[in-house]
């Protein structure tokens, strides 16, 4: 690995598009410094989410952060959102440039 890259966590959240406005302030609150959102479609426990209109649309939120923020983020999502919302969260190790940004 090149000396310029450092390990960070990539937290990926796939959830209902309707949650976006409620979720974004929470990300900042647990210490995430940024995020990337993409439109998403797929199938899971709640059937097909085809994105034909807003109520059946998903988004994928990706957050790059350190391990501490990743833990806080996952705990917060599990406590506040898992019970009532369609949501899948997974965490991966990734190598990033400019680690101070995340």
């Amino acid at each position: 690995m090149s000396p310029a890259v450092t390990l960070r966590k990539l937290v990926t959240i796939v959830c209902e598009a309707d949650m976006e406005s409620a979720l974004l302030p929470e990300l900042a609150r647990v210490g995430a410094r940024g995020y990337t959102i993409t439109e998403a479609r797929g199938q899971g426990a709640r059937g097909v989410r085809d994105g034909a209109w807003r109520a059946s649309s998903n988004i994928r939120i990706e957050v790059l952060c350190d391990a501490q923020v990743a833990d806080a983020l996952v705990d917060m999502l599990q406590a506040r959102y898992y019970a009532d919302f369609g949501m899948v969260v997974f965490v991966a190790d990734v190598a990033v440039l400019r680690p101070a940004k995340f």
Binding site: D18, E39, A52, W53, A55, D84
Partner: protein, 314 residues
Amino acid sequence: MSFEPVILFFMLGLLAGVLRSDLKIPGVVYEALSIFLLLAIGMKGGVELARHSLLDLALPAAVVVGVALVIPLAAFRVLRVVGRLSQPDAASIAAHYGSVSVVTFAVASSYLASRALPADGYMTVFLALLELPALLVGVFLARRGQGAVRWKALLHEVLAGKSIVLLAGGLLIGWLAGPQGIQPLDRVFFDLFKGMLAFFLLEMGLVAAGRLADLRRAGPFLLIFAIGMPICAGLLGLLTARLLDFSVGNSILLATLYASASYIAAPAAMRIAVPEANPALSIGASLGVTFPFNLIAGIPLYHWLATYLKGALA
């Protein structure tokens, strides 16, 4: 019975959905069409509104909004007592039925236009006013006796939501511009309106076909509710219209507003304010059953009833 051609587009969408056709209208087109329709409906109402004194509207508006609060309250009782639904589910569905559907209103307006039944543009003001109160009632019913409500987030979600912003914004633009000022925009917003509505209804047919499957799992009660509720609410609208001495055209529009169930603003608001309610039930009932019912049978029924009541109570 002769159908509005726009309704045939809805049926085509339903059929394509049931047949599992690969027809798919991209989400961005749906968004663009809904923005166009909301703006155009608002502007049309605003232009007409310029002909009336706003002060004269205050009393009928208060009556229309006040009586409409009966709808979510009654729906909640029926859903809880007869349907034995959980408190959040009953409250969320009640909010959907108390709020209004802009597209159902648009179809009713075009139904009236094609039958040369005049209606007043200020009915659009009632459309904008009726969206929010029932959502607040629904959240109150869901939260009664348990936990705090994030009222601020909810109010922001609805008032800053695209349907209120575009509808109220269109009303204001039309009202400020007046019939003369709006003329350069006529071609885009008014001449194209029916064609855009047809596209939108094609898409809604596709979406509604999918929601129907959700509802089938929920059992027969909701199915009966989703047809009985608009008929009762429509009757309430007709009686309120009699009280206010509305014309037949206005009466049909008010009945349609009371009978229609929201499927754009309400699902988003309820998802935020009452997340434990199952959206498959409320959207399945409002979009899968009530919306097609109103389009195909409800509006002609309210027309017939309005004419009948006019004769009987004259």
